[in-house]
């Protein structure tokens, strides 16, 4: 299912990672929301983006997710998303 979504993902010890770098809007939003909507349990998700995705935030808030921008690679905007209890 997630293969059909824009971007790619992988699992690490800290949870799911989603890379949507290089995609044109609104594909990053679709890639991120499509994946977090399919998660069944509360989780932490790390997003690797190339811009601050300001239009994603209202959608995250609506779904009960919080977010935090953390240091990433040069040219990368890295976000940690957490499902609020």
């Amino acid at each position: 299912m997630t293969q059909d979504l824009p971007g790619h993902d992988w699992q690490q010890e800290d949870g799911l990672h989603i890379n949507v770098q290089g995609l044109q809007p609104p594909e990053p939003m679709l890639g991120i929301l499509g994946r977090i909507d399919s998660l069944t349990a509360p989780a932490q998700v790390t997003v690797h983006h190339d811009r601050d995705p300001i239009y994603l935030y209202p959608e995250l808030a609506e779904r009960g997710w919080s977010w935090e921008i953390v240091p990433g690679e040069p040219g990368e905007v890295r976000l940690i998303l957490r499902k609020r209890p």
């Binding site: 939003m29 679709l30 499509g34 935030y57 808030a61």
Partner: protein, 420 residues
């Protein structure tokens, strides 16, 4: 730091202060009510309207400049920096362009209603000053788009070119009301309408749809090739129609008609593909209006083209124009505004516990339902009134439109009241 503060802090370059886009949206909502009220007063003059000063022309420009252009400018100021990743420029210039557009719209439409050439000319020049500021800011931004979103940027360039043409033609037409120097006022008026409705508003609507419709529906991005076909056909239509109307060359006018139909087909194909792949199943009231706008776009173009074959139907051009202006563009923009206003507001408003406010808490269904029902009623009643030349139907339709616009204004004021 709260999430809201975090993302506002990280996106200052691209997210304008809320007061900037919202001043355009609220003003557009006020002019929306004023346009319907003016049409209500002019209902008897609408059948057979073929130009000239008076209340119908004033209502037309309250709708086109006061609502459509006002919304387009406010939305462009907010959407362009997000699409291109570059800042929009100086905020004072945005505020000034809004002020000039408000003053210019009032003076121009007052001049049209009272048939006052000096008021009209002053209003037209003030609107052009607002457009020049807007164009300068938009050019500065799109120039930095680079390789990002080439289709959106190309539509932006096309819209800006159209803006220069329709504004120049509009000024000539206004000056001609007192000077009488144009040999073919009606032909130039048609070229002005084509470049304003299809060139400026249409290309902006097509361009921003590439991002907004997939974003609202959570759909894969639209097929790009159909978008380039749409843009090429649209530009051919503008050039052919502009020359065809101005120089009275019927073959070029027909080519323009074919171009607009081909452009619309490409665009509607894209939108169909986007909606087919959407993740969001319930699209709500805004998409009832957006889908209605797509149907009216096709119907309006077919009717406008058939007028070339049936030129004797006196109310045909007015009906086609009404379907395209109110049926297509107004339905589309009010649908988009219903989505975008709570969406933008949620980025600025702070909800309970310092968290960002939810879009669902920033919208009101009752006024939106009122607007939707009244808007559809207005379309149906005025269409029937124009088709059969029945003034009471036009009167009832304009009243429904006015009532719906009050519902929309209620919604706009509610959203703004939630901003802190």
């Amino acid at each position: 730091m709260t999430n809201a503060a975090l993302f506002l802090g990280g996106a200052k370059q691209r997210l304008l202060p809320a007061s900037l886009p919202f001043r355009f949206f609220v003003t557009a909502s006020v002019f929306h009510a004023a346009a319907w009220a003016t049409l209500l007063a002019a209902a008897g003059d609408l059948p057979g309207f073929a130009g000239g000063t008076g209340l119908v022309l004033a209502a037309l420009h309250l709708m086109t400049i006061g609502v459509l252009l006002m919304t387009a400018m406010g939305a462009s100021y907010q959407l362009l920096p997000v699409a291109t990743g570059a800042p929009i420029g100086r905020l004072w210039a945005i505020r000034l362009s809004h002020l000039l557009l408000v003053i210019g719209t009032i003076l121009l439409t007052l001049g049209m209603a009272l048939s006052g050439p000096a008021l009209m000319a002053t209003g037209a020049l003030t609107v052009i000053a607002a457009l020049a500021l807007f164009a300068g800011l938009a050019i500065g931004n799109i120039r930095h788009a680079g390789k990002a979103m080439p289709l959106v940027a190309a539509h932006g360039w096309g819209a800006l070119l159209s803006l220069a043409v329709f504004a120049g033609l509009g000024l000539l037409l206004v000056l001609d009301f007192s000077g009488g120097f144009l040999s073919d006022h009606v032909g130039l008026a048609r070229a002005h309408m084509l470049w304003a409705a299809w060139g400026f508003m249409g290309l902006l609507a097509f361009g921003f749809s590439q991002v907004l419709v997939p974003m609202f529906a959570l759909a894969r991005s639209v097929p790009r090739r159909a978008g380039w076909i749409e843009l090429t056909a649209s530009l051919v239509a503008l050039l052919a129609g502009g020359v065809g109307f101005a120089a009275q060359i019927p073959a070029l006018v027909v080519l323009a008609g074919v171009g607009t139909l081909s452009g619309a087909a490409g665009y509607l194909w894209q939108m169909r593909a986007a909606l087919k792949s959407r993740m969001r199943k319930r699209l709500g009231t805004p998409f009832v209006l957006i889908r209605l706008s797509w149907a009216m776009l096709a119907a309006g173009l077919v009717l406008a083209l058939s007028m070339l074959a049936l030129p004797s139907w006196e109310n045909g051009p007015a009906l086609a124009g009404f379907w395209l202006l109110v049926g297509w563009l107004l339905s589309f923009l009010t649908g988009v505004l219903q989505k975008i206003m709570p969406f933008l507001a949620s980025m600025h408003a702070v909800g309970r516990g310092g968290r960002p406010a939810l879009q669902s808490d920033l919208t009101l269904q009752a006024p939106l339902r009122l607007h939707l029902i009244c808007h559809i009623l207005a379309l149906a009643l005025i269409s029937a009134g124009l088709a059969f030349s029945v003034t009471p139907l036009i009167l009832a339709g304009a009243f429904a439109g006015f009532l719906g616009s009050l519902g929309f204004l209620w919604f706009a004021i509610f959203v703004v009241s939630r901003l802190r």
